[in-house]
Amino acid sequence: MGTTASQLGKDSLSEYQELTFLTKQEILLAHKRFTELQNRDERNHPNATRVPMEKILTLPELKSNPFRKRICHVFSTSEAKDGSLTFEDFLDLLSAFSDSATLEIKSHYAFRIFDFDDDGTLDCGDLEKLVNCLTGETDDTRLTSDEMRQLISNILEESDIDKDGTVNLSEFQHVISRSPDFVSSFKIVL
């Protein structure tokens, strides 16, 4: 336990702790799990190297999550848009999903995760993909196209305030604020 602490310097630990919603223990645990994902030679410089998306998706907390690829894409800062994460991206991910993150941060990132085409709004295609992710792949849980159409039109009727056919960030946050369970369900703990 002590060796990982010495690899992550005290200064950077306190800086990370100030800028994210994680506690120091959580940052150390994240460091440990992240270095386990890296190759042996990369382990000395966790900040400089990126871990490819396939390795991140082997984490048990993300392995079966239907939104795992979107999560990697949203938090990745790589230029190649391949979903690879540095250690700091990984901390961003854990911070947004942590216990103490504010509702605003969570709803912001939830919006970006659900925005499958990255255009800044949730339109019908995004909503359809979202519902398919929620209901799963099997035939008996999937909604028929009639039901899907009706569902999407009901969602837009309820949450689209400016009636432009899409749900933007403010409208999304307005819907989220009515649900008290969102904060406790939008959590991933290592």
Partner: protein, 818 residues
């Protein structure tokens, strides 16, 4: 918004008014009772109403304040949104256009009934700027707002909110890439200058709450706070502070190295994480409730231990030498050796312990008198008071979280956006979650389409008959069990005390507690309820009624029959008897739970596999288990006054229960397929812990403290008319010796004893509660109006944009711009 939502909210509004009116009536009636009490000489028996009224009002007030603040935030975001709609065309003109613009998406507009069809680009213009200029999201958007460039940026994330405009006249720009980079730099500099104005901690907190990447945040931090904050660890301290510096550095070093071990101290953290990964938030809330109860009991135990048990243990009174051996059956019944131990009331002496302390080098004797009766009385009352405050606080916090101002039951968008539980990580549980969400969505959709379908008269009549039959069965079974317990209690007192007879009564009570909820479940299986949450509420209510009636019958028997003179000849120490009864009830409850968990669920699983041929394991019934916990806690609270070590028994029981339930979950149960609204259910459970459980126990205990004469043969209050009298005597004694305490006692007599001084703050509280409720009401109306306003402004914007396009085309017919 749809009509159903509006009608729902209006129903809710009148419901709120009704609630406020009822609160007003309750407190008004209690105020009247107070006034009546002052007319009579002895107003002591109205005292419990003071605390109840005050606590109800504080909790309602606090929760409504919290909700008002949240509502104010919502209103602010909506008004920012509508304000921004005004400033949209100006902003869009100042942004740069892009070279490699994205393909316009060819999707039909769902709301084409609203008006003209506009291009995808115009749609993006209309919907892109969605945050106010002063919120943190707005600040972060300014940083990230870049045109969609060919060259990628190194540190900022991809431009998500770029308004990609086609149809508006924009200045042609040649050097887009450098402009883009300069734009990012400008935005970051703006953000840094905004933050520089605040103090370091404020700025840090704001920076943390911004949805930017960590790399961006570190850069901005370096810009704003570079001189002081970066070198916070290496500050030069003045010389005289040096020892403090060393101590603080050593402490920081110690905590830094000990961090990995501190995480293991948080109780059951990893177990709960595994449970939530497999079973979801609903089952997790049961275990969180168990942990909360454990901490409450720990606090109670520490208080009684410190002030009552340890001083008495140091100076043990003389005991009967006959009862010095312990047998196993006596451990269960609490008689014999245990009745003469610290466990029960009779052990505590009614003397003032005076210790002579002689220090060896200073020949002075210190007299430290410790009056056990006063300590007993004050410990019990103060610990109940502390429990009261803790419960009201947690209840109001939980109520504030779950209070829904704009409530509508069939809210599809909320279900779609918020129902995925990210904590669940095991594959079979994820499959179950898929099924759960799919079933829920399909049910809601079918409800929407078939809303007008009415049941025929025959069906409605049949439903009514089934409901009535079910209720009659349940109520009859509750009544029978209560009468049965009453007769058994009467029988047990009059006969001689054989050990098994004593256990029989507790076993019967626990047996009823176990069997009857099964009967209730069976009845509700036949009934058809309008929604799954109604079914849960009905089953909780029936269970609660059963437990209240059982405890009520027992309390009645103890308070009316045992404590009063008639049956007193049989018992020389009634407090001991009641304490032992509660101890036995608690233990029997635990034993029956163990038997049920291991044998019952195991047998049920075999039965359903072999006989019913279903491969499905039974579902963990959260409501029933939580009510069991509340029942055990009520017994503990009732028993603290008679048996100060009972919280320790409860702590041990809860500890073992955690591991047992975890084990049985893994072996026998599976996650539920029905949706479980965790936050509202948690609020309901804490409210149930407060209202029938704690208040009932507190009122009964206070009644015994004030009204009932303690037994004259044993215990610390041997020769007094009531426990309260010992407090009065102590006050008299203190008045002479300590001046400050006499002032305090006088203040108590004028302020707390005088009902008028409590009636006035109650009225003020009520007024504040009423004002808050009206504010929430008003804000609801404002939200509706703002939504309408936003809709109208988008229509205006669309009109203006089409006009601009039209004029463009007219003025420059040869241009390629569309």
């Amino acid at each position: 918004m749809s009509k159903t939502e509006r009608s729902n909210s209006s129903v809710y509004i009148t419901g709120t008014n009704r609630a406020i009116l009822s609160v007003f009536l309750v407190s008004f009636s209690s105020g009247l009772a107070l006034q009546e009490g002052t007319a009579t000489a002895n107003c002591d028996h109205h005292r419990p109403w003071h605390t109840m009224g005050a606590s109800v009002l504080t909790f309602v007030k606090r929760s409504l304040t919290m909700k008002t603040l949240q509502k104010a935030d919502q209103v602010r975001t909506l008004s920012d949104f509508s304000k921004n709609q005004h400033s949209m065309p100006r902003d869009s003109e100042s942004t740069n256009s892009s070279e490699g613009s994205k393909e316009p998406f060819n999707r039909k507009l769902k709301s084409s009934s609203q008006g003209t069809k506009c291009s995808a680009a115009t749609r993006r213009v209309l919907s892109s700027h969605s945050t106010g200029s002063h919120s943190s999201a707005g600040m972060s958007m300014r940083v990230r707002r870049t045109p969609a460039l060919q060259q990628p940026q190194t540190s900022s994330r991809d431009s998500v909110h770029t308004p990609n405009i086609d149809g508006i006249i924009l200045p042609e720009l040649k050097e887009i890439s450098t402009e883009g980079l300069a734009c990012i730099e400008r935005n970051k500099e703006e953000l840094a200058s905004d933050l520089r104005g605040l103090s370091v901690s404020e700025g840090m907190r704001k920076l943390r709450a911004m949805p930017l990447s960590l790399v961006d945040k570190m850069e901005i931090r370096r810009r704003c706070f570079s001189p002081s904050a970066v070198n916070s660890l290496n500050r030069n301290f003045p010389c005289f502070n040096l020892p403090l510096v060393y101590i603080s550095r050593m402490w920081r070093h110690f905590t830094f190295n000990a961090l990995p071990f501190l995480s293991t101290l948080k109780l059951w953290h990893s177990s709960m994480k595994k449970l939530s990964g497999r079973y979801g938030t609903g089952v997790l809330s049961y275990f969180l409730f168990l942990r909360t109860l454990l901490f409450i009991n720990l606090l109670l135990f520490i208080i009684t231990c410190l002030f009552l048990v340890i001083p008495q243990a140091i100076h043990p009174p003389p005991t009967d030498p006959r009862l010095n051996s312990v047998t196993a059956i006596e451990l269960l019944t609490g008689t014999g050796y245990l009745s003469q131990s610290l466990m029960f009331y009779s052990y505590y002496s009614n003397v003032t312990i005076e210790t002579n302390q002689m220090s060896s080098h200073i020949a002075v004797t210190h007299m430290v008198p410790y009056c056990i009766p006063t300590a007993y009385f004050l410990t019990i009352t103060i610990s109940f008071f502390i429990m009261c405050i803790i419960l009201v606080y947690s209840m109001s916090k939980s109520f504030g979280k779950s209070f829904q101002v704009l409530k509508s039951n069939r809210n599809l968008s909320e279900n779609v956006f918020c129902s995925w539980d990210f904590k669940v990580s095991k594959k079979p549980s994820i499959r179950l979650q898929h099924e759960k969400i799919s079933t829920q969505l399909k049910e809601q959709l079918s409800e929407l389409t078939s809303r007008e379908e009415e049941m025929s008269l025959m069906q409605r009549l049949r439903n009514l008959i089934v409901h009535v039959l079910a209720w009659v069965t349940c109520l009859a079974s509750i009544l029978l069990s209560a009468v049965g317990v009453y007769f058994i209690s009467k029988h047990t007192v009059s006969s001689e005390f054989k050990n098994l007879d004593l256990l029989f009564k507790s076993a019967v009570v626990s047996g009823f507690n176990l069997l009857l909820p099964g009967i209730f479940n069976l009845c509700s299986w036949f009934e058809k309820h309008s929604s799954p949450s109604t079914r849960v509420y009905v089953s909780i209510f029936r269970n609660l009624l059963l437990k209240i009636s059982l405890i009520g019958v027992l309390c009645y028997h103890w308070l009316e029959k045992i404590a009063v003179k008639q049956d007193r000849q049989v018992l020389e120490c009634w407090e001991n008897f009641v304490g032992q009864e509660l101890y036995r009830l608690l233990l029997m409850d635990f034993i029956f739970t163990v038997l049920y968990t291991f044998l019952g669920e195991f047998i049920w699983r075999l039965f359903s596999k072999k006989v019913l041929k279903k491969n499905r394991k039974p579902v963990f019934d959260i409501a029933r288990n939580v009510l069991e916990l509340i029942y055990g806690q009520t017994l503990t609270w009732l028993g603290v006054r008679f048996s100060p070590l009972l919280p320790a028994v409860q702590i041990a029981k809860l500890f073992v229960l955690f591991y047992m339930k975890k084990c049985s979950l893994k072996l026998n149960c599976q996650a539920s397929k029905k949706p479980w609204r965790a936050t509202q259910m948690t609020t309901l459970f804490i409210t149930l812990l407060w209202f029938p459980s704690f208040l009932g126990a507190a009122v009964s205990v206070m009644y015994t403290v004030w009204m009932i004469t303690p037994s004259s043969g044993c215990g610390p209050f041997r020769n007094l008319t009531s426990m309260f009298e010992s407090g009065k005597l102590w006050a008299e004694r203190m008045k002479d010796s300590h001046k400050i305490l006499s002032w305090l006692i006088q203040a108590y007599n004028t302020v707390i004893d005088n009902p008028l001084f409590l009636f006035l703050p109650t009225c003020v509280f009520l007024l504040v509660v009423y004002f808050h409720a009206q504010i929430v009401d008003g804000q609801r109306k404002i939200i509706r109006r703002l939504e309408k306003q936003i809709e109208n402004e988008v229509k205006d914007k669309r009109f203006l944009i089409t006009q601009l396009q039209h004029w463009n085309e007219e003025n420059e017919p040869g241009s390629t711009q569309r």
